[in-house]
Symmetry: C2
Subunit: 165 residues, 2 copies
């Protein structure tokens, strides 16, 4: 048998035995709010990592883009996300794919936490933050401005995709 | 925006919009029972794939080993698994890592389905099945023989690890 535990039992509260609860990112490196990170699988034999992110009510991830992609499964609760120019309500266990160089952000509602699994290549580029000009360009679409300013709640979206049925 | 849907909403019954329900493996290629496969993420930009496997009551995956590893999260229900010489009860959302060249099998109980997510390198070697001699060697341990013959149910295990508390 190889070293290291092969089975990590789950614990209450979306935690796992032997998995550390980490800060989402280094403080001050980028804007985010009320979000934690747990690295579920990060092994030299695997070319991807699997992480679990959880946002408390009102929390959000960083608005960013990068060459590497994300394969996301909403794991707990419901929230909203921006993928490119699309704002959508998502709920467990919906799947979300973030293509290369696509602005994205996940947001919890005011009422409940939302958690998601994220599969990502182990070797990846550094995220880019929007410049002021890029942010203004994004916000020309009202639905995106509302989302980024935290004014969109599930069921209230006015984008053509509409809320998830 | 890139082509292809970025969001795949979840459907009832552990299905996803646009995700095909597949046979576990090619029929007759290896022993298995009452198990299905859904490929949740398989993208050229990602060096791993994420699949969802589900076994009906009494179902099981193939007993096999290979150089590539599996990163598994039990996603639905509870069942038992063999990892090397360890037989363990597992329940959602426990994590299971299958090291290289380690015999492994997942089994549902007689009472309920069990489903698991499995992250795996996109480029990987072909699974090996045990020879008769290897199978007899494995079955020298009573707990493994009981497991492989479907005689172990959660809470009834006699291995030193004991059932999950």
């Amino acid at each position: 048998m190889n070293d290291g535990p092969q089975i990590r039992p789950s614990l209450d509260g979306f935690r796992w035995e032997g998995v550390e609860l980490l800060a989402y990112k280094e403080e001050g490196s980028a804007p985010f709010k009320a979000i934690t990170r747990q690295v579920l699988f990060q092994r030299p034999e695997l070319q991807c990592e699997l992480r679990y992110f959880e946002m408390q009510p009102g929390g959000h991830s960083t608005l960013e883009r990068h060459e590497h992609v994300h394969a996301v499964m909403i794991f707990r609760g419901r929230g909203t996300c921006l993928v490119g120019e699309e704002v959508r309500e998502v709920a467990a266990p919906d799947l979300v794919f973030i293509p290369p160089m696509t602005w994205h952000q996940f947001r919890a509602t005011k009422d409940e936490p939302v958690g998601f699994l994220c599969m990502v290549n182990a070797e990846r580029d550094k995220p880019q933050l929007p410049t002021d000009a890029q942010l203004q360009e994004l916000k020309k679409k009202k639905v995106i401005a509302d989302f980024l300013d935290g004014r969109v709640a599930p069921g209230e979206m006015t984008n053509t995709n509409g809320p998830k049925s």
